[in-house]
């Protein structure tokens, strides 16, 4: 059986988990077995509806203590669930929760772990998972040889497919340890699309000259329902918050569309964004290296081009 970890926050299942569920269900089909979900904690969403992603059952460890993330307690709980349910493959999303928990589970189960997977494994000769390495500059094919296998799927690399079907919801009784990590505060940037989950990302660089000029980036992001990002010097100068910094030493993202404005396209920047499906570059310098990595480009002044672009997209949406 393939077991998929279902991640949630504020009572709702995260988009990254729908990708993981679709992936896990496809993998189960490939292996000739069934796929089930595992949810730790409680949510407001109707779990039976997750059947539409191809899973037959949702196992819930219905304990409110698990609505807070303590990696060690979570890791042990999931490891116990894998053992109790006899799962052979465990799938996570390689988001912030996956990074916090999957390695703990791997250690507890002595299971081989591949994080940052971007495709279904090749099971014709072993269990070979393709993952992103060198910050998106290459891929590695990694064979997992342990009995239990754990895959953590890069967000935005496997398309969610929703069909018909409902899942059986079943309570799983697992005794959990008392939490050692005490949560004291949560600060959410409200109303923003989380960067790693966004389909479209609008990103600004030093070419924008200063934080007071970010209005044109935010307007464009707003009409596209996009997340905003920035280059490293922009975050380092505190023009934008650190969590917007993308690149080799920032967030690595793979949206469907990445729009880079006033960013030169240094190799360290590209490393964080070159897995984006479509890249648009707006830069006034025709020699900017970013154009070599782009699909579409405009050589021009951002302060003239971007407001026009926002206007044209608004027109498209209204037409």
């Amino acid at each position: 059986m393939v077991l998929i970890f279902i991640d949630h926050a504020d009572g709702h299942i995260k988009k990254a988990s729908f990708e993981a569920l679709t992936y896990g269900a496809a993998l189960a089909k490939q292996l000739g077995t069934n796929a089930e979900g595992l949810l730790c904690g409680t949510v407001a969403d109707d779990l039976a509806l997750l059947g539409k992603y191809g899973i037959t059952k949702v196992n819930q460890v219905n304990n409110e203590a698990l609505n807070n993330l303590d990696s060690l307690v979570y890791g042990k709980t999931i490891a116990d669930a894998v053992t109790a349910l006899g799962a052979k493959v465990l799938v996570f999303s390689h988001n912030q929760t996956g990074r916090a928990v999957a390695p703990v589970v791997a250690a507890k189960l002595k299971a081989g772990l591949v994080t940052g997977a971007i495709a279904l494994p090749d099971t014709s000769n072993g269990f070979v998972v393709k993952k992103s390495v060198f910050s998106g500059k290459a891929y590695a094919n990694v064979n997992i040889t342990s009995d239990i296998k754990i895959i953590s799927l890069n967000p935005n690399s496997y398309k969610t497919v929703a069909g018909e079907g409902t899942a059986e919801v079943s309570q799983l009784n697992i005794a959990i340890d008392s939490l050692k990590v005490k949560l004291t505060a949560v600060n959410k940037v409200s109303g923003e699309v989380p960067l790693t989950e966004a389909d479209i990302v609008v990103s600004g660089g030093r070419g924008l000259k200063g934080p007071e000029n970010w209005g044109i980036i935010e307007d464009l992001a707003h009409v596209l329902h996009a997340a905003t990002a920035c280059s490293r010097p922009v975050a380092d100068s505190n023009w934008r918050p650190h969590h917007e910094h993308v690149g080799q030493t920032g967030e690595q993202i793979a949206p469907n569309l990445y729009i880079a404005i006033g960013i030169s396209g240094a190799i360290q920047h590209l490393a964080g964004v070159n897995r984006s499906k479509h890249i648009v570059v707006i830069n006034k310098d025709p020699e900017a290296p970013f154009f070599k990595a782009a699909d579409y480009g405009i050589v021009g002044d951002a302060f003239e081009v971007v407001p026009k672009l926002t206007e044209e997209i608004r027109k498209l949406h209204n037409s």
């Binding site: 995260k14 303590d70 990696s71 060690l72 890791g75 912030q96 990074r99 916090a100 999957a102 390695p103 703990v104 589970v105 791997a106 250690a107 081989g112 772990l113 994080t115 940052g116 070979v128 993952k131 992103s132 390495v133 910050s135 500059k137 290459a138 891929y139 590695a140 094919n141 990694v142 064979n143 997992i144 050692k180 990590v181 949560l183 949560v186 600060n187 923003e192 989380p194 960067l195 790693t196 989950e197 479209i200 650190h242 080799q248 030493t249 569309l257 190799i267 499906k277 648009v280 154009f291 070599k292 782009a294 579409y296 480009g297 405009i298 050589v299 081009v305 672009l309 044209e312 498209l316």
Partner: protein
Amino acid sequence: MKILVCISKTPDTTSKIAFKNNNTKFEEAGVQWIINPYDEWYALVRAIELKEKDAGTVIHLVTVGGADTEPIIRKAFALGGDEAIRINATSDDSFYVASQIAEIAKQGGYDLIFTGKETIDYNSSSIGGMIAGLLDIPFISLATKFDITGTTTTVTREIEGGEEIAEVSLPVVVSCAKGVAEQRIPNMRGIMAARTKPLKVVEPAAIEPLTHVTSYELPPAKAGVKLVAADNVAELVRLLHEEAKAI
């Protein structure tokens, strides 16, 4: 307080990424090696800051690697740290590497274990969590702030679209991301002192790796950019809508 900082050797961020031996090995020719930026800028520097506040603090560095990792350890020593342990093995399996470090950690009785958020070569983001799992102590991932009062640590960690602040008692394993500390440049005194700091080499424990890399691939080259004139933004919107189907 005793701190263990995990250090990894990675190719410089501008390195050309290429493979040899039928795409089964990373081409190391011409590559400059650096300390993994997350290990250096954040984990190591934060450990040094803690020692600056409390002189009784001892910092050990640990790396899993061959003799070719020693220049990297000396670079780390130039920033700070009291002793280093090199576990004489190379592996691309996170479980193997984490298990080796966990063995060292068991003997060392550390209060705090720092790793970087991930390495910039394998990007696995796994070592810290695995060490915590193996030692059965709490783990905080993707820390952007780290403070300590007595034996209680206060850690801010990244979550999607925000951050969480949590308290946890020592011992703990923390993976460090941007924000935990500010990058430092070693000074002359540090560079001189680095030469004579003790570096112990130990042989690896018998651990079975659970994964191995069978081959590498480079992404397909881009077809080339389609340029649109700056006074024809509507055309870009048309292409994104009709051709790319991205908006």
